[in-house]
Symmetry: C2
Subunit: 361 residues, 2 copies
Amino acid sequence: MNLKEFSHRIGLSPTTVSRALNGYPEVSERTRRKVLESAERLGYTPNSRAARLATGRAMTIGHILPLSKEHEMVNPIFSDFIAGAGEQYSKTGYDLSLSVVRDEDEAEAYRDLATRGVVDGVVIHGPKIEDPRIRLLRELGLPFVVHGRSSRVHGEYNWVDVNNRRAFSRATEFLLDLGHRRIGLINGLHGMDFATRRLNGYCDALEARGITQDPELISSGEMTENYGFDTTIQMLDSDNPPTAILISSIVPAMGARRALHDLGIGLGDEVSVVIHDDDLSYFRNEGDVPIFTATRSSVREAGRLCADILLDTIRGAEDGRRHVLLEADLTVGQSTGPAPAMRHLLDRDRTETLRRPQTLT
Amino acid sequence: MNLKEFSHRIGLSPTTVSRALNGYPEVSERTRRKVLESAERLGYTPNSRAARLATGRAMTIGHILPLSKEHEMVNPIFSDFIAGAGEQYSKTGYDLSLSVVRDEDEAEAYRDLATRGVVDGVVIHGPKIEDPRIRLLRELGLPFVVHGRSSRVHGEYNWVDVNNRRAFSRATEFLLDLGHRRIGLINGLHGMDFATRRLNGYCDALEARGITQDPELISSGEMTENYGFDTTIQMLDSDNPPTAILISSIVPAMGARRALHDLGIGLGDEVSVVIHDDDLSYFRNEGDVPIFTATRSSVREAGRLCADILLDTIRGAEDGRRHVLLEADLTVGQSTGPAPAMRHLLDRDRTETLRRPQTLT
DNA sequence: CGTAAACTTGAAACCGCTTTGAAAGATGAA
DNA sequence: TTCATCTTTCAAAGCGGTTTCAAGTTTACG
């Protein structure tokens, strides 16, 4: 049933019905009640396609899910983020449009969404350093919010980010305080803004203690379980292996755990691990004492915040740009402990000679 | 720029332009080329909102992502499925609309999508036994495809499913052939159709060898890492623990691996594990010899197939219902081995007495 | 009671595209 | 050349809402 028929049936004009249904004040309470009740009874729901054309609003937020070229992989945090954002959209009557595109087609996809007018705003996922999407969206005049930030981009824009630098310097300090001196970093893909900030935090902390970073202890890659495994094996298999490792996500941490197990190295005693925990719903790092010592920040909450900010912007909230910086506090779990007195794990002879610098520092 | 202005500028009527752009045959090649070229040059793109109203087609497929009541969890296979389906949508010019709703609001959400006319069809995720959504969508007259199947639902409908029963009976047989007699099953949530079929397959195989199932060895739950951990501990901590475990997904398998490690039980020698592997992009069970012995079926491929079937249906493909049953073949990995001669893992005395029945069978 | 102000309601234009039905132009047979 | 046929193009009527502007009703108050 369409508006014309419905309004005719209940003896009112389309105008009045539309107003009643959309909560305009120019309609008396009595009439509104009558309309609402009749709509319910006769099963009338306005056609969104028509409403969208008439209002010029798409009532839809776009998310673009790029498939990484390398592994055609979907970011494992994506679904939790979407869950958070989606909740907010539902509450406010917005729909969520998801476009799955290959990495290289991403810019085109944004342009397309904008010109076709199917979204009122978009969320930028996984920003890189100096991310070109920000400029593009500004040009297109499409409201947006970034989940993360983009270094070296000038001007204000909406974003929600974790204080990655602080989190990782904090985690590194924690390990240093435990006596660790060789600390590995299993980080996200090179060029990703968050990975850079985490690296910076890690370097900050090392530098503050006068420790020079070792390229062999720093690795970047797509955060799969296998990546965590391979990198851990590789690091521990070196001449001068780390006694502690920082891992950017719980997914590669699963691989790291497997690697330690395979090598017969004790997690938390022989090698310590600190992860960044996005609080994924199917990977809760919990318990009386969590499995992993972790800097935690719920990516789902980030999704909620992004949605709120973007909707505010779209609905023409006052000022302009807004942003949120979430702090990720460190929770101590079972995966960390004092640095073994430089007992070398794979090559016991060699380590004896290494003990001295360790105790001296 | 809108159609009116664009067509005016290039000296043609809106009708002709629309036809040229939409590939109708009533327009000469020369004109079409001219239109396409001008559109490119002047940057004209038709407004989808208007096109959708005019054609009555939403050019959008709906997916509803329910948040489980228990843990407000997102199904970990969801993002890979979406990636597969989304690829197909992009290719055919369809959009994907994602609604995040609480479990209990799901029916309402389908109804809403249908009456508002924002989608041309929907995908049903995670069907339960006798799933009410199928009936609902039939009533609403909204085309749909089920990822999975629903037992005890009459009549034909579109679906794409894995042969879960066969996969799990096959996996169970494999373990039986290795001499295992006490085989645990860490399954999906009770009531889920796939979980039921897997249970049936498992029971079939046991029964065929005259082994009675033990309720203590069968568990159902939401497939989180922690669920896998807890259940494994619980099973192995019993008087009569299993020597092998079947696990419905790689996510709880991570937890099972952790449990085995914590208990100091060797995976593949002391306890064998077979998983069902959905081939998630961030959890590749690969290598020369895969980590886990597994029945594998790509959920991403299932997403592609679902999309294809649904789009065919929507575009009024001939006959009617279509379905695909995917076989999941068993790949032997490192996580399985011959049953230990009933060496009890936690209670060595007790097991000695158990050895006999084992060798007799 | 009369009139201004405040409420309610409605007619019609509009959103930007698709599509029907008709006309104009091109082609070809008679 | 004429008329029939085919091809190409167009004017106008939708699609189903929203919103402007005007008109009809009440209410308020002198």
